[in-house]
């Protein structure tokens, strides 16, 4: 989440209703459709979301159903991904794992965006003291080693706050600075354009100018950021669970499954292979879609 370079983000595309017959988003979609990798990414994400929603229908067995008689079976026709040490069907556990990854990705990025958009909008639009204070605080969070911050917060508050909400908050708190920086610079480019001045001349309030004119036209880079950040947040959750400070033990989450399968990886490598491949495919989907969105929103590529 920290590794996204704001300069790589597209400059915002102002909408001009008289100039084009399709809307901005219709235009973006037209170009996105032609990008094969982006469509593959979108396909992966759709399959994953459907899997997460329909997990009880997709999974052939309950994810927690233990049967020590069939412990550590290699992949076969009844158990496509084999079984784990406790004889649980590994395919079913991998299917349920999509729920954890998707919910962490969506909620944690949502929190990041809410904090980042509010602070970035205030800093960019009003400038002056508000800008100086907000961006100095953002500098602090930007310099702070992300994974150390999240790890400390989770171990410190792990007994007072349930794990999942704590993960959301910790990732949001240590990740908002990137979103704020990107949104601020995007707003700076939009706020002095003619149509904003026109709105101001007509006596529109700050709130109206900000929410109706400036923010909608500054969103493009943020959407690209959010898409890629969803992928990196899923990676972060997997890493935390792998280190043993993510989701609670026993949860079917991919990072935790890799961690639990680690001690058997010499003899039962599929215990590490399948959850790992699921993480790669999921994150790849978000990265491909994010790259495609960036290309189709960038006016310089027209």
């Amino acid at each position: 989440m920290q590794r996204i370079d704001p300069t790589q983000m597209p400059v915002p595309v102002p909408t001009a209703a008289s100039e084009v017959s399709v809307s901005l988003w219709g235009d973006v979609w037209l170009r996105l459709k032609k990008n094969r990798l982006a469509i593959i990414g979108l396909g992966i994400i759709l399959i994953l979301v459907l899997t997460a929603i329909l997990a009880p229908l997709v999974a052939p067995y309950p994810p927690d159903q233990q049967n020590l008689g069939i412990s550590k079976l290699s992949p076969n026709s009844k158990h496509w991904f084999g079984t784990d040490v406790l004889g649980r069907d590994y395919f079913s556990r991998v299917v349920y794992g999509s729920r954890i990854s998707i919910s962490i990705g969506v909620v944690a990025v949502g929190i990041t965006l809410v904090i980042g958009l509010i602070t970035g909008a205030i800093a960019g639009y009003f400038g002056g003291w508000a800008d100086a204070i907000i961006m100095r605080v953002a500098d602090i969070f930007f310099a702070f080693p992300f994974i150390v911050g999240v790890l400390v917060m989770i171990t410190v508050l792990g007994e007072t706050i349930p794990r999942l909400p704590l993960l959301f908050i910790a990732i949001g708190l240590f990740g908002w600075a990137s979103a704020a920086r990107i949104f601020r610079s995007s707003i700076l480019q939009v706020k002095n354009l003619e149509y904003v001045e026109a709105a101001r001349a007509m006596g529109a309030s700050h709130w109206r100018i900000l929410t109706r004119h400036v923010m909608p036209n500054s969103l493009a880079p943020v959407i690209v950021f959010a898409t890629i950040a969803t992928g990196t947040v899923i990676l972060t959750e997997a890493a935390l669970s792998f280190l043993g400070v993510g989701v609670p033990v026993g949860t079917p989450a991919w990072g935790l499954m890799v961690s639990e399968g680690k001690s058997h990886m010499t003899t039962e490598p599929w215990l590490v292979l399948f959850p790992g491949l699921s993480i790669v495919a999921t994150v790849l989907g978000f990265i491909l879609l994010g790259d495609g969105l960036r290309d189709s929103m960038d006016p310089r590529l027209r």
């Binding site: 990798l37 410190v156 007072t160 400070v245 790992g276 491909l288």
Partner: protein
Amino acid sequence: MIRYIVRRLLQMIPVFLGATFLLFFFLYILPGDPTEILGGERATDPVVRAVLREKWHLDEPIYVQYGIYMKELSQGDFGTSFRLSRPVSRILGDALPWSLKLAIVAIGVEAIFGVIAGVISAVKRYSFWDTLTTIATSVLVAIPVFWLGLMLQIAFGIKAQGTPFELPISGVQDGWRSYVLPAITLASVFTAVTARLTRTTMLEVMKQDYIRTASAKGLSRGAVVYRHGLRNALIPVVTNIGLDFGSLIGGAILTESVFAWPGVGRQVFLAIVNNDNPVIIGSTIIFLLAFILVNLAVDISYGFLDPRIRYE
């Protein structure tokens, strides 16, 4: 120039103080009582605990503890580990060289493979190699670092046992061979980012007028690409690689855990799990300083790399 450096250093002070205070704030609301670790077997004795609380200033308010810590830090004293009863400066002094050495090797991997892949895909745009680089860089960014480490351990540690490709999968006992797998693991994401950045800037530079001039005056394709193209494209690439050095030191927690690498990342992880606050704070300060100083060094080096940039 001197004024610029001083101004940048002054700007860094609030970041440093803010970040360390943030950490103090989190550690201060820690529910666990460090005297349980400090007291060892006598931890149940209330007198022992009271003495320890006094000695470690644990009953003082957070800002007093912070003030005491900063005063001691300014004298080079990082405090003493709760868990190991060793000076934190010694623990980190032992660990830091291992982190630095791994980061340097990883930077080498990143620079060599990232730049070569980026240049090839830009020069042969839309070719097979370009598509391969685009897909490979996306996949590399999507692979969890810890999982890549485990896969390399299976491939080169377990499956390759007895073959010439066998490589050590943990610790640092085997000289340069110990570095191969951890360095590849640590460099993976960074290499992908560097390859993409090289491709983008290379494509941008190759569109410039002076490239057309160079071609027009009859220079060979190689001379145009490397002498006129690459040299100009490398400025943002080099600064980006420089910035990565800071992230490589702070971002090695996963790699160091998978490969049992005795660096700062492993120390800070052990410290976090064991509530060893002095080591957590000490390591974070190292990471912060690495980030701040690397950023400053990169900003200053812009001026040397690109004479068009002036700091006034």
